[in-house]
Symmetry: C2
Subunit: 355 residues, 2 copies
């Protein structure tokens, strides 16, 4: 690798003490990867101490949300190694997100160098219990100081890392969001960009006050088919078969979703990618035909849904956690954590660097 390693990195890594309690995305590794892009030309990558960014107050990202990001994990595998899961899919998705906001794509080689380098140097910070991981957060921001509503001419790409406990979504209570939208038709819903998450916050705060955990977003075009959650995709199990919203342009193409579809197929489940009408779904939950529902994502892995709330009505899932969700969660984790054969070629081992 041609990455420049700041001499201070070794000391920062040695000086880092892993806290007793981790949480998710809260504790930050003491180093970060960075590269800059000026007028379309990328600098070489650098591994440097984790430190505040110096951003001009007029930087585009602060005013016009020109930013996109990824979420991925480095896993401790059986035998003590460290591996990434389908990292080139994150590189491709980030390139797609960047394009939607007129940002230069981070070249795949630079993206991969970033996630590999920080993983290699932070290999000791990858926690070892099942479900724990080193959460990686690549992100790209427009930094040009100029108040015109136009694309930035300068960008900074970072990868930061957070040693994280299992994300305890628990048994999630979902609120059917019939008012707000997280993204528009012809908007940014299929890109992982900041504005989608900003738009979600109000719904999340309202439903928390009502005792729910997550919004179930409906399609902004028709307002009656299911899209996804704020940071996870959605699956329902009906008579042993899996149903998940098709990629319709307003949902994010989850890498966990894609992996579960392949895995389910290999395990003999039938999977339907289709439009799921919310009223049909609620009726099927009520009748018991839809016996399980779950959400999936890098952070949440597979997390069972216990309840769907729609206005004053509540619809309880019969099986929480359900056997299909449990089966898929375990099968996926077994691959990610190296207990099962990597039959799809999803895992990429990273050689630790000791400093």
């Amino acid at each position: 690798m041609s990455v420049y390693i700041d001499p201070a990195v070794a000391g920062h890594l040695r000086g880092f003490e892993m806290p007793e309690r981790l949480g998710f995305g809260t504790v930050m590794a003491p180093v970060m990867f960075r590269a800059v892009c000026q007028d379309g030309c990328w600098s070489g990558g650098e591994l440097v101490p984790y430190a505040p960014l110096a951003l001009d107050p007029a930087a585009k990202v602060l005013h016009y949300a020109q930013s996109c990001f990824e979420g991925m994990k480095a896993y401790r595998t059986l035998g003590g190694g460290v591996s990434l899961f389908r990292p080139e899919r994150n590189a491709a998705r980030m390139a797609h997100s960047a394009e939607r906001l007129c940002m230069p794509a981070v070249p795949e080689s630079l993206f991969m160098e970033g996630v590999r380098t920080i993983t290699a140097y932070c290999a000791n910070l990858v926690p070892a219990s099942s479900g724990e991981s080193l959460y990686l957060r690549p992100f790209l921001i427009g930094t040009q100081p100029d108040l015109a509503v136009s694309a930035s001419t300068s960008y900074e790409f970072y990868v930061i890392a957070s040693p994280s406990a299992a994300y305890h979504a628990g048994h999630m209570r979902l609120w059917v969001e019939r008012e707000d939208s997280r993204a528009a038709v012809g908007g940014t819903g299929d890109a992982k960009v900041g504005g989608n998450y900003a738009a979600s916050l109000l719904s999340i705060s309202r439903l928390k006050a009502r005792g729910y955990d997550q919004s179930l977003w409906l399609n902004p075009g028709n307002r009656h088919t299911v899209d996804e959650l704020s940071g996870m995709n959605f699956f329902a199990v009906m008579e042993g078969e899996l149903h998940t919203p098709r990629l319709n342009g307003s949902i994010l193409e989850g890498i966990t979703r894609d992996s579960l579809i392949q895995l389910a197929d290999a395990l003999g489940y039938t999977v339907h990618e289709r439009d799921i009408d919310i009223d049909d779904l609620l009726a099927l939950v009520k009748s018991g035909t839809c016996s399980e529902a779950f959400a999936c994502g890098t952070a949440a892995i597979v997390s069972p849904v216990s309840l769907l709330g729609d206005g004053e009505q509540q619809y309880e899932l019969a099986q929480v956690p359900g056997p299909v969700a449990e089966h898929l969660r375990q099968s996926l984790l077994d691959i990610q954590e190296g207990r099962a054969e990597d039959r799809f070629g999803w895992m990429e081992a990273v050689e630790p660097v000791t400093t």
Copy 2:
């Protein structure tokens, strides 16, 4: 005022040299106003040298676009004074934007203190030709370093200022945007938040390549009535009467729009706030019944539209600039620049502070 004035401010102001050519929103005044909010409690405001912000790489604004802003101007008035235009409307709109993203509102008194203080200290930087101004950019960002998709617990509020030339929109060629949306129904369209502008960039870059200047956004709910431009509201003139999209929840409530409606009424024009079907509008432009169209906003004031492009079709406006647009532009500028009586009580003089 109880604002803390950093002792370095005087030197920074004295050392500042106004460049020959200003542009719009490019040259930054050498000082900025700031205040911070932690767990709902606001600090006192400070005027400090303009300098890079130190933001944690995990700050919410960088990942989840938790940011909102305002755009307003300090005008050089006849006789040499300096005045703000309806600043309390910007304070109220920013409070609305903040609420949409679960951010604490900047208290009106703090907001006013911010815009008044920077204007008072930068009074010498307010350029004097008609159409020029000191553009003010208040903004609020979520700074908590935490990767959870939830509202920040800490915020920073800034007001930066840019001595600016007249914003030369020229005669604008608008592209009817039938594909993309800038905001969703139930989204953030009526709030001045970063994500709306990020979502606009791709359309803008596509239309620039085709020789257009601005997108004309359609309503994301019905896809056939006119909403607005990326940073301006829209008016059409038909048989001497004004037509502008009603406030439908997806357009920003422009302060220029509101002012022009009041002004037009006082000048004897009939104004219709209504849904304007894009196909009807194009037909009326073609037949000549719609003789003028213009966009309005703090930056652009009133800027005539010369052409509407819809796919392969082009519809030219008969009068560019039209007499109604010219009349309104001049009447508004005459109030803002102190040449006409402030009959609506819109202007607020600011006493300069010399350092």
